[in-house]
Each structure stands twice: as C-alpha cells, then as structure tokens.
C-alpha cells in the first residue's frame, strides 16, 4: 500500500539536495571552472566523514566535560551511549563540536587538494590526474579501513548524530537539519558564483580553454589551480561531514568509486561549468534516486517476477546515456562569461534597431 508522507519525503529529498549540491559545486569549481578532472571526489568527501568520526569520539566528550572512553573494542557500546546522551542533553557542545568538525575537515581536505594539484604538473596527460585521484581515493579507503583506532577500522563509528538530535521530535530535528544543509549549499553556491565571475574565475576558465594563452598573459597557473583545488576540496569535505551526519554512521564502505561517479553525473546532467547547473544536477539526482526507489517499491508490490531494484540502476544508466548523447552540455549549458565592459561594447556595436 503506497501512502506517501509528502512532508517527510520533501525534507529527505531537500536534505540530500543540500548535501549533493555541496559535492556538485565542489566538482564544478574544480572541473567546470578550473579544468581539474577530479575523479577522487569520494576521497575528499570521505575526509569530511572521517573527521566527523574522530571529532565525535575525541572532541565531543571533552567539550561536554565527560570522561571519554575508547570508542573501539570492548568499550564501543559504552562510548556510543555516552555520545548519544551528550548529543541529546548538551546541544551547545554538539554545535561547537560540529563547527570544529567543519573547520578541521575543510582545512584537512583543502590541504590535500592543494597538494594534489601540484601533482598535475608532473603528469604527462591531463586525464592521468583523473586516474591517479580515482585510485588514490580507493587506496586511502583501504588504509583507513585497516587503521585500528581512527574510526575503528572496518567497524566504523555509529552515533554520529546530527546536531538537532536534542529536539527529540524527528520531524522538527530533520527539518532543522535540512535547513542547515540547504543553507550551507546556498552559501557555497553564492560564494562560487562570485568566484566564477571574478577576474580570478575568468582567468581560470581561460586557463581551462587554452593554457598557453593564459600563461602568455603571465598568470601563475599552478598557484591558481592549487587555490581552486583547495576551495573545492574544502567544500566537498563540508558536504562529507553532512553526508555522515545524515546517516549517523561513518564507515569506509560508503566512500567508493560509485559515489564519485554519482557526483560526476550530477555535474554533467546539470551542465559543466555552470554553478546553477550543479544545483540542478544535485536536485535531479536526489529526486531521481527517490522516485526510482519508490517506483521499484510500487512495482515490486504489484507482484511482478522481475526485480525492479535492478531495473532502477538500468534506468539510471539509460538516462545518463541519453543525456550525454542529446544534451552533452547538460540541461543548463555554460553561458559565455562576460564583464560589464563586454556588455557595453557589445551593445554599442549592435545596430540600433536590434537594441530596442
């Protein structure tokens, strides 16, 4: 029996939209604006998530003034209980902890992104960087998975609760969390719009289109790319923190290549090089994921022998292929970047009758 809870569904979709937007905006800045093919998005997202796993187990007890227990091993359950109590009873500690998490995650991921961008200089072809980042992400995942104390290796850390947990009522706490996610996404959007339309952003796009010309203009290419990687990676890590909080559980199994591909699909669907496109792509994936899942539930209920949970992935692949074939620029293709001077010059050059 299908009985859709429209309010809760909308909140869930919007929460995912906010989280995905951060990831998509990050990739759009890196690839769409600066031309760095980051196929290691899962790595930067996971840095945020792992940071949350560490701060919730090490810093949160300190902030709340309780004695911390080792999060892994035999005291795992006890530590979890402690976290839940703190998150329910001491919202201020929860918020300070979250702010610190964002900060540490952004700094860590930014530093990694900055370092990675210098690797570009050593690579013969641009797409090698894509591959290096792709496998680099997986390597880090395997190492974290094996590290005993960081996030309890393969066990992961549960009880990484979202900060509005103390409200008690799931409807209002998830609503507040959704507002947090969407707000952060919008801030990232406004910031990246400004960045894209600044002289720095135009230079980066120039760099993407033609490295030699921009180099000829004497701009510091490697530093510019490094800066954008720093910003993009930090945004992705913020998205990763929210991604982990939304599930309430940090585990290496979530940060695999498929996550990276999903983010790429968002950017390609929306329109590469266009921040608005990134938002649209994030929204589409959040909606499409929910719709296909609901469709699979409904169709499986109808008693067909086909397993619609598989059809869901096939439909997803087909939509992506159709999109790549018929709208390779995305739904919102990149518009040419112009300055005010350009607009004025253009209007002056146009014939009078067309201008009115």
């Amino acid at each position: 029996m299908i009985n859709i809870d429209i309010g809760a569904t909308a909140v869930a979709i919007l929460t995912l939209f906010g989280i995905y937007s951060l990831m998509a905006i990050s990739l759009n800045l890196e690839y769409g604006v600066a031309g760095v093919p980051n196929f290691g998005q899962a790595l930067f997202v996971s840095i945020g998530a792992y940071t949350a796993g560490v701060t919730y187990t090490r810093i949160l007890p300190l902030l709340a003034g309780v004695e911390s227990v080792h999060p892994c091993g035999p005291t795992m359950g006890q530590a979890l209980q402690l976290r839940s109590e703190v998150m329910a009873a001491q919202p201020v500690a929860g918020f300070i902890n979250l702010a610190l998490t964002f900060l540490i995650a952004a700094v860590l991921a930014g530093a990694v992104g900055f370092a990675v961008s210098y690797v570009t200089l050593r690579l013969k072809e641009e797409w090698f960087l894509a591959l290096v980042l792709l496998v680099g992400g997986e390597t880090v995942r395997i190492v974290v998975r094996g590290a005993d104390d960081l996030i309890c290796s393969h066990n992961g850390i549960s009880g990484v609760a979202q900060p509005f947990y103390f409200l008690g009522d799931p409807r209002s706490s998830s609503l507040m969390f959704m507002i947090l996610c969407v707000t952060l996404a919008l801030i990232a959007y406004v910031y990246s719009q400004r960045l894209t339309h600044s002289p720095f952003g135009r230079m980066l796009k120039g760099l993407r289109e033609n490295e030699d010309v921009t180099r000829g203009l004497g701009k510091g290419i490697s530093l510019a790319r490094a800066q954008i990687m720093l910003i993009g990676s930090a945004i992705a890590a913020v998205g990763g923190v929210l991604f982990a909080l939304n599930t309430g559980f940090v585990n290496t199994n979530d940060y695999v290549v498929t996550l990276t591909l999903d983010i790429w699909v968002m950017v390609v669907l929306g329109g590469i090089g266009n921040n608005r496109g990134a938002l649209l792509g994030a929204a589409l994936i959040a909606i499409l994921d929910r719709f296909t899942q609901v469709g699979a539930i409904a169709l499986n209920m109808s008693g067909s022998p086909i397993e619609f949970n598989y059809v869901r992935f096939i439909a997803f692949g087909l939509i992506l292929l159709l999109m790549l074939r018929y709208r390779p620029g995305g739904l919102l293709p990149e518009s040419p970047l112009t300055t005010n001077a350009h607009d004025v010059a253009r209007s002056m050059l146009q014939p009078r009758d067309e201008r009115s």
């Binding site: 809870d5 393969h154 992961g156």
Partner: protein, 400 residues
Amino acid sequence: MFKKVLTAFLILMLIVMLGAATTAQDDMETYVLGVALPFSGNLGTFGQDFARGVELAVSQVNAELDAARSSIRFEIASADTENTPEGASRAVSTVVQTTGAQVFVGPLTTSEVLGAKQFADENGVVIVAPASSGAAGAIPGDNIYRVIYPPDVFASKAYANIALERGHENMVVLHLDDPFGNGMNEGFTANFQAGGGGEVASFAYTPGSTELSSEAAAVSAALAGFGDNAGFFCVCFLSGAQAFLQVAQIDPVLTSVQWMGNEAMTAEEILADQGHAQTLANADFITVSFSSESTPLTQIFIDDFNAMFDKDPGIFTNYAFDAANIAMLTMLAAGNDGAAVKSMLPFIANHYIGTAVQAYLDDNGDQAIASYGLYQVSEDLSAFDEVGAYNGNTDTITYN
C-alpha cells in the same frame, strides 16, 4: 529529446504509484512489512534469498488471516540497501516515508544495520535483523532486534573448543575483513589461547574478492610452518569459500590438515562441485551451524519454500523467515505502531519457536539462546549431516 524522455518517465512513475495506491482494498486493513536487503552488490544472492524467505512467511500469515476472516493483511515493501550503510539508511527511510512501514526485516550485515540505526531510532521504526551478529551491533535500548542469530561470541567459543578437542596445537585462520570475520577471528583466538592453545596465524581477505590464490598460498605456508597438529579455520562468505576451495583443493598442505569453517560453507552450491565436496570431506571439515534441525518446523519450512519457489532455500534463509514471523506476530498483537512493537517484540520473540530454535533476547535485543548443530559432509557427498550439538549457554559439545 531528453526532456521528453524524462517527462514520460516521471508520468509513468506517477501512474504506477497511483495505480498501486488505488488497488488497496477498502474494507481491509493493510500492515506494511518493510524489507531492506542488499539486492545489488556482492551479497545479492543472500538478499534475494532472504526476500523469498520473507515472502513465504507473509503469504502463510496472510492465508491464515484469510481463513480466520481477519480484516488484517500484510504487504511487503522492499528496497535495496546497495550493501552500503548509507544505502541502508536511504532504503529504510524511503520505505517508511513511502508506505508508512513501522517494522523492518533486514538489513543483512552489521554495518548496514548500523547505517539504518539512526533513522530507525529517531523515527521509532523497529528493525528486526535476521543475521547480523557482529559485536559492534550489540547496543542496549535501541530499536534494533537481532532475533534469531546469536552473537558470534558463542560460535567462536564452539570453534575454539573443537580445535582444542581435536588436539590442534596451533591454528591458521582465514577470515573476511569485515566486522563479522574480524569479530569471529578475535573471539576464536582469545578462546583458543585461553583454553591452552598455542599460536594463531590470521589472514584477512577483502569481501567481494573473486580470486583467493595468494591467500590460499599464505595459509598453506603458515600451516607448513606450524608442522604437525595444526588446524585450519575458514571464516568466509560463500563466494570467498568457493574461490578458496578452488585453489586449496590441490594444495598438499591444506589437504592434509583438518578444517573448520563457518556455516556459509555448507551451502548447496559448494557441494555442487564434486572436487570441493571431496576436499571438505577429506579434511574432516566441521561447521558449527545455528540452523539446527532440532525443531519439527525445519522440514516443513523447506518443503513450503520448495513448493512456492521451486528451489531449496539458501543458507540462512530460514532466519529471514523466522524474523518476518516474529515481526508480523508482534504487529498482530501490538498493532501497526513502532513504539508498541518495540515494547512487545521481546515478549513475542521469547515465546516463538522457529525453524531453527527458540528465540530469547538479551538486554541488547540480541538472541541469547545459543544451541548449535555440528555438521560434516555426508559419505556420499550429497549433504551435510548433523554429527553433534553445541550448547553455548552451558559451553558443552556432544556428539551423536
């Protein structure tokens, strides 16, 4: 073009949903039983089989309700966890927000269960996990009940006892690199050494590996290093066990020692290969399996499953069947309400006798009764025969 396709697709979805919504009969009360299992990913086999177990339980309960002229019917709403924690969280929340389901059967692994935990706890949704047994999931007071399969502390003790009884001085363990495999390995090592055993050499393999030749070589070398009186213990999922057997069956060291292994290795797919079955028989392979044939319901379940799906139930499928029954019985008693189900489920579970054994829940909401059967390959290599029993609560092994 794309817009047209997308619009057509969305309209189709809408029609489907409306269609499904209107087919519900008016005078009937429908309780939705949520199912969240890994249909895709490397545990697809288990996901599908578990779903069939739930389907069988629902059809039987519905038939009984029909005969009793009850106005209540159960319906399944299933979603794919994609075998990731975040996927499990999305699967559970989607089913809840789409159908209003309050009770779930699934997910499968401990990390998936923990992924769904936050949503379930916050929204008062009850999760009845049929086969999660990792120590990380033993949490008191939450909405997760692990009703049938007892925590691995019991089984790891049983294996340690058998190893000591067989006179093994040292042991080599090959285990999955996940909470289940690592937990079993740690528990086994501790119990084996506490009981006077010597060294334990452990090797981990990545879940989903399709090829384990270097792992087999490492196990073989470690066994050779230990010399006589060493034994081998495999904690593997089915596909890993198959890949391992494929290379181990020709290894001179591995084929000359005694083996133990977890119950995933007793699947019929293993016996389907003559070489694999023979290897296990020669190695005195023994497994400690929770699916004991000691209740009269086991055979009935197997027959009913065969009648409905025209195939034998897979390994563990009966746990899903039992978990679904406990969930539905609780819902019949407490109503379609998460909080009521949560408070009543331990009572119902403690009075339920299933296809394996009775359930009895401890403070963590986990199965506390630990009576296992011991199984070995039969002489004609066609099946696994029960050769003894292990009572985890008294820590005793008896042979038939």
